[in-house]
Symmetry: C3
Subunit: 369 residues, 3 copies
């Protein structure tokens, strides 16, 4: 593609050199310009322009300091909400690792491990080129914060934690390493690719840490925004819980996790939460959903009943476009941006169309009421 | 893309205005025309042209009338056959919900719930822009129709039913609602997107209704047909059965369905039916298959042994094109149109390459004999 | 697309015919040429140019001859290594079917069935247009070769075998048929499509033969090579083992295979082998991985920790391009070429992000150390 462009430009230069001016020149140059624009607008089949990418980052540091009052800091939102993108080259974010009882379904309290006291963790949203200056404190030994969450009297265990950003391009040995309870890790990474990316605790057993709730979503917008305009945006994280009872509450059933046989499958951490309290929309509106399947094990076939996905961008990158889809099949650690129109007044359920999952909680709704 | 085109046209108009006629004009205009055609033929990365879409439809109605003689009405075919597309703006289709014993494998009779007495239900085929005027009677209490199908003396249960068309863009609360035995629902929807779309009963437990057999395929052709020409077309619906014995026959094993552990996985409802009776083709022919995975739970990796899928259109939309694929991985409620050449005389098995499924019945063949 | 091109050429010819020469002609022709190149470089949405494809091949032959000294012959390599492409129209390859004890994890010896004494079998690499002249001897009765591999004193069973190349377009009834122990089958096939294709034993039960280890990868390069340049290439085959103990060693657990519940999931046949002995790379290098998921049952969500997949070519065909992916979800018998940059010095684990699989052995690493 670049070769063609080069040929054209060479040609144009040659024409100028030979004194080919006047109305011919004008007309000709405009044609060339149109061609050039066309060429650039076509999908490039060669290498991506990786010139502006930032590979790697300064070494991570680990500090010890008193626990801060808040467990999160920075431009964050909790799904289905999507935060605004800060207008800065660098974005400061802090999300602490905590242990707490989390209500997954009515009366079902799970001994979760979280980022920012929430399953999933907060939604992070930046733009290509921005640098995230991140820090996280392991508060698993923060008895003041954790004890109040207890129900069954047993202490939650102290535990090493870490965080791995799929949106980053940095040495995981350094940045994604585990810290001890009471420690705070600081590192940065720059968003090189647009998309919807997973983050999760990467401390072994990674399966256990993810299944316990240490998962979330980063949205990286293209430098010039999305090619479409929408009326509303929602963030949906799908995850699996593997549970067994321990006293009055529930804890991880590791054997079930290894067999990939979940107890609950949820949108944004709570089984079927958007059935009684649907997300809002109006007839005729175009909705964008950021859908992230964090697994830890199984795929989802995301589907909205009563409409068709006008656009699907795999892993959230507009270059990976599918159109007119009834559903999108996403592996564990895969995502999509989906856009669709609400055709008329009504209630539009959305589900994982692997229907055993829908019936385990991966079921919600958008309503115009 | 539209901006470039607009610029070019503006440019052309300006040229004409300034009296730039004669041979230069002719030559120039033709170049512009060629560019314009090219621009239109390129994939548009902006919004789809959604101007002609029909969103929503009049309210559904429910009537009570005597059972009709036939359980289906309209331009329908049973897979692997594909019906012709009627030459009309509106297509009238009726498929009744029935309960009947269905032979899944030799001597294995399953207490199925069906559309039109068949698992999968009939194939519907329309063109983008056509409106389907649909009706369905819940005949689960039609003893005359059902009793003749009995083997083990026990009555089949009366049951509410409904139908959900993934090809439609209408309020599911209204059109896809459940009706009682003896009732008939009437509603319409317009085909907005080309593709291969699932339909299924959407009455809770949806998993149970789908696993019992209430699933099928709608083919929506692009307005101007497909970009390729083929010699033969076949429709293949892949579904899972979850069974346990009840007397002489088989009924749904709900626990197995929840664990996603099927008993049979079939093409067009009967385990391995195209192994002894292969689909027909000739050496050198190009075959188009409409492949719909209706699940209800698991994916399929559809593969034809001895050839390569020249084209794969995800969800049946030619814009979602992959080429030269050995298989296509389809989630439950995902589909593809696949096209391939029969390279020489012989027998070409097709399978779900998740081979445990192939050995549970998801195995067929195309033969030149 | 071809029509546009034809129109342009017709136009050019007409211009020449009418004596439209001189500087105008030159300029005009060059524009046309640029357009023509552009048209050819755009993705063709019509039929592929299938003119050069070779469909079918001469009948396979089966011979009986003494066992050769070597179990493989020809330009082969063992993954993660990738062989060079021979500079010839025809490539001679021999890989024998053998039975041997194979160490899957430290001290875990499995009674495997192999191609070329290895799980996966050797990597084959050719170019579009080349013909593979293949032969395979069933050495399951080659006591001299097999007995030395024994640990538990029990003989390995004699068994029919066969081989099915997903890269071939030939009658499977003929070329992929089963042979008896001591026989050698000879047949050929021509590479029509670029990609990364599976090969496997196709003798029933195919599930059993594949689960026992008879699986491997063929790389078919595009005629003109890949559109990108890379610093290193690695071949990764992911497979599942289903095991139960028999004396001191392990054998296939068919029931587990039917339930799709593996014991080990590995990269290149040995659980976690690249964790203690990582693949090599340097910071800043661009890596190409040929990733083939041979199942036999489950998908993989292939992910490299600490980087992003700059390009993903589904089934290894550069026309099926996704960009900026955090992972690629591949069904059993699906593949991808993935390319990524090593952002800075460090160790970059790669995993199946279905994390139960990662913890069963589908975990490796690339390191700059």
């Amino acid at each position: 593609m670049k070769k063609i462009l080069f040929t054209l430009l060479l040609h144009a230069t040659a024409c100028m050199w030979h004194g080919f001016f006047g109305k011919h020149f004008m007309k000709y140059t405009l044609s060339l310009l149109a061609l050039a624009v066309l060429l650039f607008s076509c999908k490039d089949n060669g290498n991506n322009n990786n010139d502006n990418m930032v590979y790697g980052a300064p070494k991570a540091t680990v500090t010890k300091e008193p626990f801060s009052k808040e467990v999160i800091k920075g431009p964050l939102a909790f799904a289905p909400a999507v935060p605004a993108i800060p207008d800065a080259d660098t974005v400061d974010i802090k999300m602490d690792a905590t242990h707490k009882l989390y209500e997954v379904s009515r009366g079902v309290f799970y001994k979760a491990w979280t980022f920012g006291d929430s399953v999933p963790g907060p939604v992070i949203r930046v733009r290509v080129g921005q640098t995230v200056r991140f820090s996280m404190t392991d508060r698993s030994n923060d008895t003041l914060h954790n004890v109040s969450m207890q129900m069954n009297g047993q202490p939650l265990p102290n535990m090493q934690h870490s965080i791995d950003f799929h949106a980053g391009m940095v040495n995981p040995e350094d940045k994604y390493r585990s810290i001890f309870p009471g420690e705070t890790i600081h590192f940065e990474w720059t968003a090189n690719y647009p998309g919807v990316f997973m983050y999760h605790c990467a401390t072994p057993s990674v399966l256990v840490h993810m299944a316990n709730g240490m998962i979330g979503m980063v949205i990286v917008e293209p430098k010039d925004g999305y090619p479409t305009k929408v009326d509303r945006e929602y963030a949906i994280v799908q995850n699996e819980y593997y549970m067994k009872k321990q006293g009055d509450v529930y804890v991880l059933d590791t054997a079930a996790a290894k067999l990939k046989q979940p107890t609950y499958v949820t949108f944004n951490g709570k089984a079927g939460q958007y059935v009684p309290r649907p997300l809002k929309a109006k007839a005729g509106e175009r909705i964008r959903m950021y859908v992230m399947n964090v697994g830890p094990n199984n795929p989802t076939n995301f589907h909205v009943i009563g409409t068709i996905l006008d656009k699907v961008w795999l892993d959230g990158n507009p270059k990976n476009e599918l159109v007119g889809m009834q559903s999108v099949y996403l592996g564990p650690a895969s995502s999509a941006i989906v856009e669709f129109v609400i055709p008329e007044n009504g209630t539009y359920p959305f589900v994982d169309h692997s229907f055993a999952n829908a019936e385990m909680g991966a079921s919600g709704a958008i309503s115009t009421e």
